[in-house]
Symmetry: C2
Subunit: 217 residues, 2 copies
């Protein structure tokens, strides 16, 4: 059992904490932009985000800073810069493996593009004639050839948990470098970037807060 099992808590914790705040900054700044707000001070960001102004400046300074003293931040530049930092504009391509209900929900409803990913193909063991959410669904026996031809950087795993490890190895051997993992199977240790979606952790936190009766609103 190595210290890598829970990478979100390892020695890179500080910078990872900043990284994990950036999507929230981006959501907030894009909301301001959508509302026609052209400039925002660190104090304004602080109020909107529930952080201190010095924390905001410190976070944004980690990436070189964007503001001018006494003049604030351009919301448009800030949005573009955070998007660039997050790699959203790099246009990564991914396959989705497992077109069950969760896979269908993601293909049909989730805006992958806004987060920097394009799904270029979906795969399932069950033959599927129609596309889902505009994405072509292939049978799994076509996967290896597809990886060779299109070389996607990432994969979304929405297949049954007991198939996840074998599939991750197969994807890695086919050139995939990152996995968005919905299976709650431990995929660390394979040399892949793995981002786990741990719904049970989120639900446990909800139950805890309910037991404490801490309404936040």
């Amino acid at each position: 059992m190595s210290a890598r099992r829970f990478p979100e808590m390892d020695r890179r914790e500080i910078s990872q904490a900043v990284i994990r705040r950036l999507p929230r900054y981006l959501r907030y700044v894009n909301m301001l932009l959508a509302g026609g707000v052209e400039r925002v001070s660190s104090g304004g960001l602080a109020e909107g985000l529930g952080l201190t102004a010095s924390q905001i400046r410190q976070d944004l300074n980690c990436f070189g800073g964007f503001g001018q003293q006494g003049y604030g931040y351009s919301t448009e530049k800030l949005s573009a810069s955070i998007s660039a930092i997050l790699g959203i504009e790099l246009g990564y391509r991914a396959v989705l493996i497992g077109v069950g209900n969760l896979g269908r929900a993601l293909l049909g409803k989730f805006s992958f593009g806004r987060s920097g990913l394009t799904i270029i193909g979906a795969f399932d063991i069950v033959p599927e004639l129609s596309d889902v959410g505009g994405v072509r669904v292939y049978t799994l026996d076509k996967l290896s050839a597809f990886l060779t031809e299109h070389a996607p950087e990432a994969a979304v795993l929405t297949l049954p948990a007991d198939k996840a490890l074998d599939m991750a190895v197969r994807l890695r051997d086919g050139g995939v470098r990152a996995i968005w993992n919905f299976t709650s199977t431990d995929l660390q240790g394979l040399g892949l970037v793995v981002e786990d979606v741990l719904l049970s952790d989120s639900l446990m936190t909800l139950c805890y807060r309910l037991s404490q009766r801490q309404p936040h609103g």
Copy 2:
């Protein structure tokens, strides 16, 4: 725009950070338990979780501590205690609103019970004859009577984003106190405990890590 918009970053940040680590402790301890491990030292927990032993002791001391100096923690007691802290054993009941692909995926595949919640009914605008994952699906016109009769503490929102705010108000007025929110609609400010599942933040983090080529495994 109040400081409450992003409550996970407000002045309760420290204790919230501990709370958010507890599900990971629990997953790890339950894995040890399943493997027949009866006792674990703070050093052992530290190695498995990628934290320092002093951080572990500090976290667990927030809740009164469980270990004995030089003797370690009983995995069984630790599991039971963390479950109790998280409120998992309180047996909260919830309704699920929106039986589309995501709602079906959750009802069919997700172990609500392990995280402390029982889904006692699901609702959708589309009439549905069959149950999903053993849960009865009702049409939405039955919701108010159901809330009055069964008084569930929580709701899972998997309906379209533009219906989420109205539904949250309706649920609150019907006695629901907590929302597990998959809609990416802002539901703060209603006096409810809201736990957002922000998939786009997770995916952005993945893309960032891919752009930095930081394999964790």
